[in-house]
């Protein structure tokens, strides 16, 4: 006599908890995404090979420098002398601040050097030259 199996092994995946899992993923993505706050100036970034990623988007402030020499911080145009006051306020609000300098590749070093000095005066010392990845 053949022995019959008592229980049948069901072959389908339980789908009852599927919406919960998907909702969790959804909430994760909604919480982690940071929408772009400022649009900046149109710049063509230079290329570099040895680049590093910026650790946190929340502790990053951008300075845009266009090839005409315009400086934009948080979508407002500023003169070079004004950079220190603006950056000082931002730095005071966030001690972990990293400044990301998005300068056009044909910007002049005279201006960039002035921005360096302004940043030093504002005590915003962590700087990152924003670049694109160059093909090796």
């Amino acid at each position: 006599m053949k022995i019959q199996r008592k229980t049948k092994v069901s072959s389908d995946i339980p789908t009852a908890s599927m919406p919960d899992i998907i909702f969790m993923l959804l909430i994760f993505f909604m919480v982690t995404t940071v929408l772009r706050e400022y649009s900046g100036l149109p710049v063509e970034l230079p290329r570099a090979k040895r680049i590093e990623k910026l650790k946190s988007k929340r502790h990053t402030s951008h300075i845009w420098v266009s090839k005409e020499g315009l400086i934009s911080i948080q979508d407002k145009l500023h003169t070079v002398e004004n950079v220190r006051h603006v950056m000082y306020d931002i730095r005071a609000a966030d001690p972990l601040l990293t400044v990301s300098l998005k300068a056009d590749k044909s910007a002049k070093m005279g201006l960039i050097s002035n921005i360096h000095n302004e940043l030093r005066k504002a005590d915003a010392l962590k700087l990152n030259y924003s670049t694109k990845t160059a093909v090796e």
Binding site: T15, M18, P19, I22, F23, L25, L26, F29, M30, T33, R36, P46, R47, A48, K49, R50, I51, E52, K53, L54, K57, T60, V65, T98, S100, L101, A103, D104, K105, S106, A107, K108, M109, G110, I112, S113, H116, N117, L119, R120, K121, D123, L125, K126, L127, N128, Y129, S130, T131, T133, A134
Partner: protein, 131 residues
Amino acid sequence: MKKKRRFKRGEIPTASMADIAFLLLIFFLVTTTIDMDKGLGIILPAEGEEIEIKKDNILNCLINSSGNVLLGGEPIKTKDISKEIRRKIAENDKLIISVKAHEKTKYSDYIAVIDQLKMANAKRISIAEID
């Protein structure tokens, strides 16, 4: 004859819930831009922080307005800088590379030099002020 109700009273159909959630998920996945900021990191010296350095430990790297580089008094091609710096660091690990650019130097030329220094694993980079 009375028509039979399809659903029991007070119940929301949950079969399509997963589909709706998926749709939302895909919407958020598509609309989020993950453009991570990347670039060359550098730490600026604090204001008023000036240290005297021995002359032997400084290597001057000058960039002129047309992007030509003078490394320690010798003209050099930009792409050869990392090799040269690597050699010089091996000789003297206290070496500080002082980068000085002309006022009219293009930013991209400067970035190319900094990139070369990073490639040579130079930790001690100093950016000279333009006078």
